[in-house]
Symmetry: C2
Subunit: 251 residues, 2 copies
């Protein structure tokens, strides 16, 4: 049973059973953490979730992630119980170790091209982040964001499959999804109910609708209002990490 709050500075290290079950250290609203959660969920890999407050990190967190970043995945069944960091490294490790529902293609060229495609989301993220998380984003942020997304519309057209992974969800799909779950929050934070253009991104928006039906995605998803509310708390310098958890009853 996961503790539904973010551990912070001063929080004692959680006492977890020595059960050999993977431990994922994450932040509820972190898209990189969500990548690891999605792979774990898609492959039905049992794991404990330990939430970390990124503003006031618990002192013991660097034992698992030397630079204090999330996600980190602790391999409790391996001697020394090492922890892995970097969302893409964690995702690929899990895909190799748990080949059920394999996510990356076997072919070295296809695998390389998929990894490059995952990186191609960076310009879109870089452009849209100031819009989502700051009060005065640059004026060209949304046009730059839209231009960067064209690559994904083109790629779905070129691949001519419902998912980037083909007929089934693959690694690209899960690795870029966390941002596509957040982009609709733009309609709550940008004046004028901003939406992506249905004609320009026809295939990509169909893909979004299809992805939203996936069991692993539904298990972790938050709605766009919740994402937007979190973004506002972050804009104001007081990110409310616990916002998506049920409020504990007062004792």
């Amino acid at each position: 049973m996961d503790v539904l709050k973010h551990f912070k500075k001063g929080s004692p290290k959680p006492e977890l059973p020595n059960d050999g079950i993977l431990r994922l250290y994450l932040m509820r609203f972190c898209p990189y953490s969500q990548r690891a959660s999605l792979v774990l969920a898609a492959k039905h890999i049992p794991h404990h979730k330990i939430y970390i407050d990124l503003t006031e990190k618990p002192e013991w967190y660097t034992d698992f992630s030397p630079l204090g970043k999330v996600p980190a995945l602790q391999l409790t069944a391996v001697p020394g119980q090492p922890a892995l960091v970097e969302s893409l490294v964690i995702a690929e490790y899990l895909d190799e170790l748990y080949p059920v529902r394999q996510l990356l293609p076997e072919d070295p060229l296809q695998k390389a091209q998929d990894k490059i495609l995952i990186q191609r989301l960076s310009p879109a993220i870089d452009a849209v982040y100031p819009v989502l998380f700051t009060k005065d984003p640059p004026g060209d942020a949304l046009p730059n964001f839209e231009n960067a997304l064209d690559v994904f519309e083109q790629e779905l057209t070129r691949r001519a499959t419902p998912y980037f992974g083909g007929a089934q969800i693959g690694m690209v799909d899960y690795m870029i999804w966390p941002w596509f779950e957040r982009f609709p929050a733009l309609k709550h934070v940008v004046p004028g109910e901003y939406e992506l253009d249905r004609a320009r991104y026809a295939k990509l928006l169909d893909w979004v609708d299809l992805m939203a039906k996936d069991e692993a995605i539904k298990e972790i998803a938050l709605d766009s209002e919740t994402h937007a509310q979190f973004m506002v708390t972050r804009q104001e310098g007081q990110p409310n990490y616990d916002m998506a958890f049920p409020v504990a009853a007062e004792e």
Copy 2:
């Protein structure tokens, strides 16, 4: 026979024989390009080198690298002659396709840990770049750089092998090497003949000396004076990309 100059805006696209030989697009002083060159050299993989001026990029370069970044590796023997980008993706692709002298470990955990270690160089690079390439680096740049390098000294101690790859050079060694080739340029650009502390980085500096003897590294290496001279031209806003090539005789 490679053309020993950087192609720039207005340069016609080079006419290369349709020989199925890999084509590497790179910049002579780019450490990310050097990663790809090192893997190609270590595995004795034939390739053409096409040098790209990063300030005034040739118009045709986005055909191979949509964002204009180097390195790019064009697979001329594959239908459609696709190009790969991202130095780590290129390196891993080459390692899978040319398993002679395999660089990454087979074991998923060791492979993941090696990939994480490669990423751990980023804080050192981020700290030292302003010292190498700008005129007024922040005062804490060198201490931050040194702290970030401690990880590598500790890791060589923990692994108790001459190379990060073990008894032989592995992927970590080649992927981090380009920056270690450049760090000694600090003695030319920082007042007081700056050197890394031999006691603090005993194992790491032994590793540097050992690496410098590797055939693949020697094939591509530039000395610290040349790196420093290039850095000065870049600091001045006029990077002299062709500096390391023999000067063509006047006609």
